[in-house]
């Protein structure tokens, strides 16, 4: 059972979530959002495409997903023919770090891998917002082939 700290996720309990996996160090949220369950994406020490900056900036993460066929889009609504993801980050003055990514399921819920802990399904994007993951800052989509 996942150990949620309300200081990190102040709205998760009230907005609701469902655990959908066992905990594992094998993949993180960034890979999971792209449908990959055997990679940990992180600059310097994880999977990170060549040629993309090694700072943990949201801009770099957007470039990573572009390499996987994603493009920025306006919203997180279900759209026929597309997978959608949302990227969370924290703004530090002029620098925005990425902190989390989640993917939109066919059931309209969002699916997140919480660090090395479990995967969860949550109905609202805001459920995992807070001091740890920051805010939802960018939507992206990829055509289903």
């Amino acid at each position: 059972m996942i150990d949620i700290d309300p200081a990190d996720f102040p709205r998760l309990e009230s907005l609701g979530y469902e655990e959908t996996s066992s905990p594992t160090d094998e993949y993180n949220c960034l890979a999971f959002a792209a449908g990959i369950d055997d990679e940990w994406w992180e600059p310097n020490r994880g999977v990170w495409p060549e040629g993309i900056g090694e700072e943990d900036s949201l801009a770099n993460l957007i470039e990573v997903y572009r390499r996987y066929g994603y493009e920025c889009c306006a919203d997180g609504k279900l759209e026929a023919g597309y997978y959608k993801i949302v990227l969370y980050g924290i703004e530090h003055g002029g620098y925005t770090s990425y902190e989390h990514a989640a993917r939109l399921g066919n059931d309209g819920r969002w699916y997140s891998k919480l660090g090395p802990d479990e995967d969860i399904a949550h109905a609202s994007i805001e459920a995992v917002e807070g001091p740890l993951y920051g805010r939802a800052l960018q939507y992206m989509r990829r055509a289903i082939q």
Binding site: D5, F9, D38, W40, G46
Partner: protein, 188 residues
């Protein structure tokens, strides 16, 4: 100035083996004339997290209890000036016992960051690195039992990194590379 103390307070860390409760924390801090004793008063339902650590500010007469699970420091006022706060440090019978306790603390308290660089900053993980070379065979054994993010610690201790760039972020391959390295180096 905050004096950082070595050791971690644990639920059973007193001579009588009592299990203290989180809600008793402020009352724990009562001391008498340098006699340095802990005074649990009431019983409440929430267990004190094992990974709680502490620091004492002599100037402000405050004790900072740090919950590494949430990474929050909560100040508690010491009841009077000039007193010491006693927490008995945990001593471990063997490096293995210490390692296993620290692994438990790390897994429980590391949180849900998506970045290894954050997970590795947890106090227990840093204490494992601080164990030095004696931790290497224990880490390798743990990796074999349950693959996890141990590359950071192994590299920090050994100064080596046998993981090829193509294997980074792939836990099975990373684990395999470290276990082979451990065999070559005589750690397993």
């Amino acid at each position: 100035m905050i004096a950082e103390n070595a050791g971690v307070a644990s639920p059973s860390d007193d001579a009588e083996g009592r299990i203290y409760r989180e809600s008793e924390l402020a009352r724990w801090l009562e001391v008498r004339n340098g006699a340095q004793r802990l005074m649990p008063i009431n019983d409440f339902g929430t267990p004190w997290p094992e990974e709680t650590s502490y620091a004492i500010s002599d100037e402000r007469k405050e004790v900072y209890l740090t919950y590494w699970r949430g990474r929050h420091s909560l100040p508690f006022l010491a009841p009077s000036s000039g007193h010491m706060i006693l927490f008995r440090s945990i001593s471990y019978a063997t490096p293995r016992a210490k390692f296993q306790a620290l692994v438990r603390q790390w897994v429980r308290g590391r949180g849900q960051s998506s970045k290894i660089k954050d997970l590795a900053m947890h106090r227990a993980y840093q204490q494992i690195i601080g164990m030095g070379e004696q931790a290497i065979p224990l880490i390798l054994e743990e990796m074999e039992r349950k693959p996890g993010h141990w590359s950071w610690a192994l590299t920090a201790i050994s100064g080596e990194d046998p993981v090829p760039p193509s294997a980074r972020g792939r836990l099975k391959e990373t684990t395999h590379a470290w276990l082979e390295w451990g065999t070559r180096k005589g750690y397993r």
